[in-house]
């Protein structure tokens, strides 16, 4: 069984945000709201120093698909809604999720409310109980009364899918999540199972993201990890991109940071 992971080359990444846009299109994630980012592929931007001696860093962040995932341990449901697949991916089952947000609390890379806790990012987001997810996919009310139809209505009449919506099928999660449930990056398992790469990897114009089987020494990411000294996003002290990882054994690695580790 493969053990999938990702290697991000920080010297190739320019922080253009194509991966984040690609992810939003592929997985129909919502806009940032109510303290939730809904960005499965996100960034940490950091500006240090004083002009003209400034340093600007862009670090892409995503679910680390940890081998000892804290979110999986925290999930109270049986069988676990947040669970590990044999291929190493941490997958969230939407049917079994009850929306208690224990995974969000347990994850060292997530925050319950990014606005309140001033967190830059959160890899797990929560869909509020009260609001419909992506209402415009379903909303068939006239935009201008007696005059214009909504996108959902036109696409329904034409027998097509609503604009900006990607349809896919997976055994555990749906292309649009439900209210009262959490969501996070699934490594595009629906694509990987079909032999495709995650959409963020495909979309990166600089080829900074490499995705593959970490257990296979001849795979692209394994070769990169051998060649370069790799770090994970946070270490024990919560410092970014320093050696000494938090204990969850993340499977997303960063190589070639401009700053010396």
């Amino acid at each position: 069984m493969p053990k999938y992971g990702m290697v991000i080359d920080l010297q190739k990444c320019v922080g253009c945000g194509a991966c984040a846009l690609a992810c939003k299109t592929e997985n129909n994630t919502q806009d940032r709201a109510k303290g939730q980012t809904f960005n499965w592929a996100d960034f940490i931007y950091k500006a240090e120093g004083k002009f003209p001696n400034m340093k600007f860093t862009a670090m892409p962040v995503l679910c680390n698909h940890c081998s000892d995932a804290a979110c999986v341990k925290a999930c109270p449901v049986t069988p676990k809604a947040m669970h590990k697949h044999e291929n190493g991916m941490t997958i969230h089952n939407m049917e079994r999720c009850i929306g208690c947000r224990q995974c969000q609390r347990a994850c060292p890379y997530s925050s319950e409310d990014v606005d309140k806790s001033k967190a830059a990012y959160s890899v797990i987001s929560f869909n509020d109980f009260s609001d419909e997810v992506h209402p415009f996919y379903k909303d068939k009310t006239e935009v201008v009364a007696g005059c214009t139809a909504s996108g959902a209505e036109i696409s329904h009449k034409a027998g097509d899918i609503p604009p900006h919506r990607t349809m896919y099928k997976h055994s555990d999660y749906a292309s649009v999540r439900e209210k009262g449930k959490v969501e996070k990056c699934m490594f595009c398992e629906h694509r990987v199972l079909n032999g495709e790469l995650p959409y963020c990897v495909v979309s990166c114009p600089a080829k900074a993201r490499t995705f593959g089987d970490l257990s296979d020494p001849n795979s692209e990411p394994s070769k990169l990890l051998k060649k370069h000294k790799a770090v994970q996003l946070k270490n024990n002290k919560g410092e970014l991109l320093k050696p000494g990882e938090k204990g969850t054994r993340p499977n997303v690695y960063y190589i070639r940071s401009f700053k010396k580790a």
Partner: protein, 337 residues
């Protein structure tokens, strides 16, 4: 495929209890220690580990698990408590005393046959005593030599418990008949038209039962789908018919109060945990707020055990204004302030 399923269903009569795993408190919360069904099962047929399972070859189908599960994980297949009560109510027009009994033996005289009567919870008995204007006899004459005979004592205890907690006249309305001589069974007299109508109804009923049984074996719903238990719903419907003094008694004895203390930090995790939908986030001017509806709470206490701040207290006896309404927890039911 359908044919095969029908044959399977007819031959496999042992499969009388439907399990919805998503309702089980231990499936929803891994730290829950609820073991009501296991405690009541005389034959140790229920196993709860990676899932809820009844060993069909051991199970005697006494239906006690159905009546004790606080969140409605079990249900009697091909039986609907609502239509059972409705049919008994209609019967009281044609016979002086309707008789309810189980389908274990053919020679038990009843008007309405169900699975083993162990499924009659206190809520069922209250509903029967209120909805039926007249008397109802429960035929337990066959129980003496049935391996599920222990349910007679259970039913008696349940009746006593109702009489103890409320002033409802359950003993006058409902007779548990163990002696054949006490039974006032009277055949429904039918004219020719009525006879053919009865046959037609019977055929429809059988067909309906058959097709109801063909529903998929896996009854597990989405864990986030909230549904109030049948027992609670029956009692809710009964409650509206009760006179004032009984109304308060039943509210005191069977409904629950939800209280929180200062420890609550509005994380609303309990809303997701609740299997029956008794908790809801309501948008108020001051922001989202936790609200509680007593008529949708079966008192399973899962929220209490789950709350990370130990801020929840569930107690018996409703103290608010309207049990059918989502009330703000902060204003009406708060303790310690």
């Amino acid at each position: 495929m359908l044919q095969g399923k029908i044959i399977d269903t007819i031959s496999n009569t042992a499969d009388a209890i439907a399990i919805d795993q998503s309702r089980c408190l231990r499936m929803r919360f891994n730290k829950s220690t609820c073991s009501e069904c296991i405690k009541h099962c005389r034959f140790n047929a229920i196993r709860i580990d990676e899932g809820v399972d009844i060993k069909r070859n051991i199970c005697s189908e006494c239906m006690l698990c159905v009546s004790v599960c606080p969140s409605g994980c079990f249900d009697v297949k091909a039986m609907d408590s609502y239509s059972m009560i409705a049919r008994l109510k209609r019967l009281s027009n044609s016979v002086p005393v309707p008789v309810l009994g189980c389908n274990a033996r053919a020679d038990i005289k009843t008007h309405e046959k169900t699975a083993c009567l162990g499924f009659l919870s206190e809520d069922h008995i209250i509903a029967l005593s209120v909805f039926l204007e007249g008397r109802l006899q429960i035929n337990l004459t066959g129980c003496a030599d049935c391996r599920n005979g222990f349910i007679v004592d259970k039913l008696k205890k349940r009746m006593e418990s109702i009489a103890e907690k409320t002033s409802l006249d359950v003993f006058e309305k409902i007779n548990l008949v163990e002696d054949r001589l006490e039974l006032c069974y009277q055949d429904i007299s039918l004219d020719r038209r009525g006879f053919f109508k009865a046959i037609k109804n019977l055929t429809f009923l059988q067909a309906a039962n058959l097709f109801e049984n063909i529903t998929p074996d896996d009854n597990t719903r989405s864990y986030s789908a909230k549904k109030v238990t049948v027992r609670r719903d029956l009692l809710n419907r009964t409650l509206r018919l009760l006179p004032e003094w009984n109304y308060t008694q039943v509210l005191d004895a069977y409904y629950y109060n939800f209280r929180i203390d200062q420890g609550c930090n509005n994380c609303f995790a309990c809303v997701g945990m609740c299997p029956t939908g008794g908790l809801k986030i309501s948008a108020k001017e001051a922001g989202p707020e936790l609200t509680f509806n007593s008529s949708l709470c079966s008192g399973c206490g899962l929220c209490e055990g789950f709350c990370m701040n130990n801020a929840i207290l569930i107690e018996r006896g409703f103290r608010g204004h309207n049990p059918f309404e989502f009330c703000s927890v902060k204003n009406r039911l708060l303790c310690n302030t």
